[in-house]
Every structure is written in structure tokens, then in C-alpha cells.
């Protein structure tokens, strides 16, 4: 059994890597991928705590709700990617670029 701290450190690292990517990369597809990494960090947390819960309270038996949440989250992430890519596709068609620095028409 791997202690919970390891999982938490791992997911924090994933989140930080994802956030760094979102903040620095110019390519919108890479930004989208980094968002996925951040989401998966959250999923790992859910699963980790789900397993940790049954270790902490053996009397209650196992509780799968954290894992179920993770499944939902993955499904939603898939939908989000579909929408995100579709947006990027139409942005590219209009501006011939997916550089997030250049797409700044939503401003004052």
C-alpha cells in the first residue's frame, strides 16, 4: 500500500506542471493538453482519497464514490476536449493561427 502522501505529492506535481504549461505555452492545443493534465491531477486525488477512506475507517467497508467521481470527471474531460478542439478549429479557420497571444479580440 503506497502511503497517501506520495499520491498527493504526485498529483500536486502534475497540477503544477499543467498550470505552468497553461501559463507559458503559445500553442492553444498544448494549453488544452495542459488543462487535461491538471484535470487528471484532480482525478488522482479523488481516487487516492477514495482508497484512503477505506483504510482509515475499515469498519465502514469500501466506499467507491471517489472512484465513480473520477470516472465522471474523465467522461466530462472527454466532452470538454471535444468542445475545446472544435473551438480551436473554428478559431484557426478564421484567423489562420492558434497562438493564444494573438487571439485577443475579446478585449476593450
Amino acid at each position: 500500500m503506497i502511503p497517501i502522501e506520495y499520491w498527493l505529492i504526485f498529483s500536486s506535481l502534475l497540477l503544477a506542471i499543467g498550470a505552468y504549461g497553461v501559463l507559458t505555452r503559445k500553442n492553444a492545443i498544448v494549453v488544452l493538453m495542459c488543462i487535461e493534465i491538471m484535470l487528471n491531477a484532480a482525478n488522482i486525488n479523488l481516487v487516492a482519497f477514495s482508497s484512503y477512506y477505506s483504510t482509515l475507517h475499515p469498519a465502514f467497508g469500501t466506499d467507491a464514490s471517489g472512484q465513480v467521481f473520477a470516472l465522471f470527471s474523465i467522461a466530462i474531460a472527454a466532452a470538454e476536449v471535444a468542445v475545446g478542439l472544435a473551438i480551436l478549429l473554428s478559431v484557426y479557420r478564421r484567423y489562420q493561427t492558434i497562438d493564444v497571444d494573438k487571439i485577443n479580440i475579446m478585449r476593450w
Binding site: V22, L23, V31, V100, I103, N104, R107, W108
Partner: protein, 655 residues
């Protein structure tokens, strides 16, 4: 079967007629564009009223234990709607039902030439009759106030019936706005009562203990404010100028609303509030003074008016002043002598006046119908052409002038006697009595001035007068009959005084009931009766001398002191002019100031804030760069700051 329990049906009948006339298709209106429905509605109400009045004459009333339904519950306050039938209600029902029905019948002839707008006329007049019954039957102040406003609305609509005339439209507005001043006072008065008693039911308020919760100065204020409602509605000085202007409406409306019923609502209100009023002598004195001043001011204005309807309008105001004066003086008699004679005299005058004044107005309507003008200077010589009208109008004029045995003599004399007796307790009443007796003289004079100018002498302009149709002359004859006999109510059965005294018997425990013979003896042995009689005859003779006999030089009124007085009278003592000047100059100046304040201070503040918002937004909108990564980094920084705050600052502070 107890007819009193069914009294709530009385207003329903005219209301049903109103709905039928106003909402049904045009081709169902039938005779005279709805007059048939109107007569049916008014007639049903008349029949029901007669049954109710019969029950009341037999000694049955329905006051404290009448059926009620709950209308509103606000916190601890419950507002109910119910009916309240005592002798005073019966009296008002009699007036409204008889005059209302006769006026509707008369309208069939008078409004014949109006064409399709008659539908609006009959609908509005039915609505008026319905809400007037509601006002009379109301059993609490709030219910009364609701109907009070509704009669005001109907009055507005009917004065402005010929709304395409600018004078009628502005007269309607004036009537509505001026009476509104009184209505606000009325509302303030009942709010004070609600605050201290917590209930507006007559049943609670008129019971002895209820007013114990009210500090005496607040009771005075509240009763004076309730009387303020009467000042507006009954056109008392200084709010009386709307009534002469209200003559812009059809004459039938003037007869019904502005002579016989709605303007009586103020007198009715004062009479209804008697159990409260008699506990506050200051208010009673105020009531009496307003009444006396109104009586003489309005009578003097009638002396010089040339419009036949305006003469009658001023006369109405003056007679309403009489009633108010009688009620004010009667209150003193109630608490000083346990004597109801002032109250009965005023209500008696209310009834008689409704009949003879409606008669006079309808006669004037008949004359206007024939001649086509309101100006008496253009009439003259109508006696031979309009025999019925001239005779009935003569009866009305004799009745109001106080010539025995017509009705006005009895009631006017009773009112003056009550005021004279109240003079024993406050010298002000003696002065008011003098005003009243002077008014009696003027009344006789201006009434016969009007009659002589209209019917006697030579025709003074081109017109082809003819007697009015039957639908108009029959109501005139019925009203003339009532104007002759209604005064004898004083001597029928136990007599009117005992009957009306029943309405306030709770206030005068153990009062002595005068027998009919006592009343008659009292009237004919009192020297004051002969004083007023002599003055009435003198007034008639003076009018005969000035306006009938040839050779009277009226040019004395063109110059000198009489000229000034004449001019003042023709300008209605400049009261109307004062209001106009006040509105045009003082109030307009004030409005200009407030306009400036509004434009520069209020608008300045609003515009200033808008300007600040614009400038501030111009600065901070630069933050919205459109760069997603900058937004994201701000979110991350924000989360980090929040985390640091929660992890270090919050525990450190010990929250």
C-alpha cells in the same frame, strides 16, 4: 323575512345595470341607449330601499350585529366589509333612491339629443348610484373611504361628460383635485383612529370605551381631520369653489350628484361621526364655524351670479353650510343638554334640501333645455310658455326661501333654533346664528331674483321655448309634491325628531322625547320663527321690487360702495381668483425653484455619479486585455494569495 339582511343587494342592482349598459353589445341597449336598464336598476334599488326604510321606521336596525365578511387581515388588524343600517342610513337611502330614480327618468328626456354618448352617461350615473348606496351602507371608515373615493371618481367622470369642452374638462379636474385635499385629511383622520383604537368599525369606535384609548388632543385632531373630508366633499369654505365650476356637467348630474347626494356625503360623514365628535367640543365649534361662514359666503356669491346653475350651486353650498352649522351646534346641545334637536334639525334639512334642490336643478335643466343658455340675463318671460316648470320651480323657491308650510321652512327654522340654543354655551353660536339668519334673508332674495329673471317680465333674447316632455315634467311634479310635504315628516307618527334621535340615542341617555304637539307649539311660540319668516318675506319682496316691478334703477350698483360690493360678489369674493393667483404666482415660483433644484442638484448628483463611473471604467477596462494567459495567471496568483491567507493569516489572527 328580514329585509335588513338583504340591504347589501341595494347597491348591487344599479351596479348590475352599470355592467349591462357598459359591457353589453350596442344593439342590446334598447330604449334611449340604456335608459331602460338604468331605470330598472334604480327602480329595483328604490324598491329595496323602501323595504329597508319601512323596517327602520318600524324600529328595526342592523348596526353592531350586522353580517360582515373579512376583506383584509394585516397583522392584528382585520378589515371587514359589512352593512350598517340605522335611522341616518334610512334617511340617506330615501334621498338617494328617490332622487336617483327620478333623475334617471328625467334624463330620458333631458339627454335625448346627446346621441350615442348617452350610453356612457347612463353607465356612469348607474355606477355613481351604486357606489353612493355603498357609501351610505358602509359599516366602517375604511369601507366608507373606498366608496367615498369612488363617488369622487364618478363625479369627475360626469362633470367632464362633455370633455371636448375645455371648461368642462378643467372643471372636472378641479373638482377632483380640490376634493382630494379633503380626502387626504379624511384619510389622515382615520389613520389616527386606526393607530389608537386598532379598528375602524363603527361598532367598535362608537361604543363608549373605545375612545378612552385616544388622547383627547389626538381625538380632536382626528375628528377635525375627518371633518376635513366633509369640507372637501360638501364644498365647504375654503374648498367650496369647485362646486360652482362643477356645473359644467349635465344638469341632471348637478341635480343628483352636486345637490342631492354626493355633496351630502360630507354632511352624512359628520352626522355619522357624531359619537366621536361630541367628545371633542373644539372640533364641534370648528365644524359650526366652517358651516356658518360657508352659508353666508356662498349665499352672498349667489346674489350676483347670472348663470342659473351657478345660483343654484352657491345656494347648495350655502344650504350645506346650514346643515354643517346645525350639526356643530347640535353637538353642543347633545353634551350640554342631552338634547338631539340640532342633529335632527340638520338631518331633516338634509332630506328636505335634497328634494327641493333636486327639484330646482331639474327645473333649471328644463329651462336650459328649452332656452339653450344658462345665462339668466338672456331669459325672461318663460312663465307662459313653460307652465309646469315655472310652477314647480316656484314651489322649490318658496320651499328653500322658508315660506310655510313648505318643507324648507320647518327644517331651516329647526336648524336656526338649535344654533340659537347653543348660543347659551358659547357666544360664537350667537354670531353664527346671526350669520344664519342673514343667509336666510339672502336665500329668499336670490331665489326670487332667479325666478323673476327667468320666468317673469319680457323675453330678453331670441329663443323658441316649449314645455319639456312628460319624462321631464313628471319627475318635476313628483319632486314638487315632495318639496311641499316632506316638511310634515316632523309631525307624522312620533315625529321626525324622535325617529332621527334614535340614531344617536346611545349618546343621550334618558333624553326627553318631545311629542309632536310640543314640537309644533315650540315652533309657533318661538319669536325667532317669526323673525326668520319676516326676513324671508322681506327677501322675496325685495326681489320682487328689484327684478319684477319696472322703474328700479339698478345703476346704483355700478359705482361707489355698492359698486365695489357688486364687483366683489360677481368675482365670488375673489376666492377663486386667489386660488388661481396662488397657483400661478406663488406656487409657480416655488415650482421654478424646485425645478432648478431638480435640474442642478438632483440631476447634477446623478450625472456626476454617471461621469465618475465613466471615467473610472475608462481606467480599469484596460485590465481586460483579451489575453487568456494573463487572466489565468491572475487566477493562479489569486488562489495562492487566498491559500496563504487561509493557512497563515487566519490561524495567526486566531479567528
Amino acid at each position: 323575512m328580514n329585509w335588513l339582511e338583504l340591504a347589501w343587494l341595494i347597491p348591487v342592482a344599479p351596479f348590475a345595470a352599470f355592467l349591462l349598459i357598459a359591457l353589453m353589445p350596442k344593439r342590446t341597449l334598447g330604449w334611449e341607449d340604456g335608459c331602460g336598464y338604468a331605470i330598472a336598476g334604480a327602480g329595483t334599488a328604490l324598491a329595496l330601499s323602501a323595504l329597508v326604510i319601512w323596517e327602520v321606521i318600524n324600529g328595526n336596525t342592523l348596526t353592531v350585529d350586522s353580517p360582515r365578511f373579512t376583506w383584509l387581515i394585516i397583522g392584528d388588524t382585520t378589515v371587514t366589509f359589512g352593512i350598517w343600517i340605522d335611522q341616518l342610513t334610512a334617511l340617506m337611502l330615501l334621498v338617494v333612491s328617490v332622487v336617483g330614480t327620478l333623475v334617471v327618468v328625467y334624463s330620458a328626456g333631458y339627454m335625448h339629443h346627446e346621441g350615442p354618448t348617452r350610453r356612457r352617461y347612463y353607465a356612469e350615473i348607474m355606477l355613481f348610484i351604486s357606489v353612493m348606496y355603498g357609501l351610505v351602507l358602509a359599516d366602517n371608515y375604511l369601507e366608507m373611504f373606498v366608496f367615498w373615493e369612488l363617488v369622487g371618481l364618478c363625479s369627475y367622470l360626469l362633470i367632464g361628460f362633455w370633455y371636448e369642452r375645455p371648461t368642462a374638462a378643467s372643471a372636472a379636474k378641479r373638482a377632483f383635485i380640490v376634493t382630494r385635499v379633503g380626502d387626504i385629511m379624511f384619510m389622515a383622520g382615520i389613520i389616527i383612529l386606526l393607530k389608537y383604537v386598532g379598528n375602524l368599525d363603527f361598532a367598535t369606535l362608537f361604543e363608549g370605551g373605545a375612545t378612552a384609548h385616544i388622547p383627547s388632543n389626538m381625538l380632536t385632531l382626528s375628528t377635525a381631520l375627518i371633518f376635513g373630508g366633509a369640507i372637501g366633499k360638501s364644498a365647504q369654505f375654503p374648498l367650496h369653489e369647485w362646486l360652482p365650476d362643477a356645473m359644467e356637467g349635465p344638469t341632471t348630474v348637478s341635480a343628483l350628484i352636486h345637490a342631492a347626494t354626493m355633496v351630502k356625503a360630507g354632511v352624512y360623514l359628520v352626522a355619522r361621526s357624531y359619537p366621536l365628535l361630541v367628545q371633542s367640543p373644539e372640533s364641534l365649534l370648528f365644524v359650526a364655524i366652517i358651516g356658518g361662514v360657508t352659508a353666508i359666503v356662498a349665499a352672498s356669491c349667489a346674489l350676483a351670479a347670472n348663470d342659473i346653475k351657478r345660483v343654484l350651486a352657491y345656494s347648495t353650498i350655502s344650504q350645506l353650510g346650514y346643515m354643517i352649522l346645525g350639526l356643530g351646534a347640535g353637538g353642543y346641545l347633545v353634551f350640554e343638554l342631552h338634547n338631539t334637536s340640532g342633529y335632527t334639525a340638520a338631518t331633516f334639512h338634509l332630506m328636505n334640501h335634497a328634494f327641493f334642490k333636486a327639484l330646482l336643478f331639474l327645473c333649471a335643466g328644463s329651462v336650459i333645455h328649452a332656452v339653450g343658455t344658462n345665462d339668466m340675463r338672456l331669459m325672461g318671460g318663460l312663465r307662459k310658455k313653460m307652465k309646469i316648470t315655472s310652477m314647480t320651480m316656484l314651489i322649490g323657491a318658496l320651499a328653500i326661501a322658508g315660506v310655510p308650510p313648505l318643507s324648507g321652512f320647518w327644517s331651516k327654522d329647526e336648524v336656526l333654533a338649535a344654533v340659537w340654543h347653543a348660543g347659551e354655551f358659547d357666544w360664537a353660536f350667537t354670531v353664527l346664528w346671526a350669520l344664519g339668519i342673514a343667509t336666510a334673508f339672502m336665500t329668499a332674495f336670490y331665489m326670487f331674483r332667479m325666478w323673476f329673471m327667468t320666468f317673469a317680465g319680457e323675453q330678453r333674447s331670441e329663443f323658441h321655448a316649449h314645455e319639456s316632455p312628460k319624462t321631464m315634467t313628471v319627475p318635476l311634479m313628483i319632486l314638487a309634491g315632495l318639496a311641499i310635504v316632506s316638511g310634515f315628516a316632523l309631525f307624522i307618527g312620533d315625529g321626525f325628531k324622535v325617529f332621527m334621535g334614535g340614531a344617536i340615542e346611545g349618546l343621550v341617555p334618558g333624553a326627553h322625547h318631545e311629542s309632536v304637539v310640543d314640537v309644533a307649539v315650540e315652533i309657533f311660540t318661538d319669536p325667532l320663527t317669526y323673525v326668520s319668516l319676516v326676513l324671508a318675506v322681506a327677501g322675496i319682496v325685495l326681489a320682487y321690487r328689484m327684478y319684477y316691478m319696472p322703474g328700479f334703477d339698478r345703476s346704483v350698483f355700478a359705482r361707489g360702495v355698492p359698486g365695489t360690493v357688486q364687483k366683489a360678489l360677481e368675482n365670488r369674493w375673489y376666492i377663486s381668483k386667489f386660488y388661481d393667483d396662488f397657483a400661478y404666482k406663488v406656487w409657480y415660483g416655488f415650482s421654478l425653484l424646485t425645478d432648478l433644484f431638480d435640474r442642478y442638484v438632483i440631476d447634477g448628483m446623478v450625472n456626476g455619479f454617471a461621469y465618475l463611473a465613466v471615467r473610472w471604467s475608462a481606467i480599469i477596462r484596460k485590465g481586460q486585455s483579451g489575453n487568456v494567459q494573463r487572466y489565468t495567471s491572475l487566477i493562479v496568483v489569486g488562489i495562492i494569495v487566498l491559500l496563504l491567507f487561509m493557512l497563515y493569516v487566519v490561524p495567526w489572527g486566531g479567528w
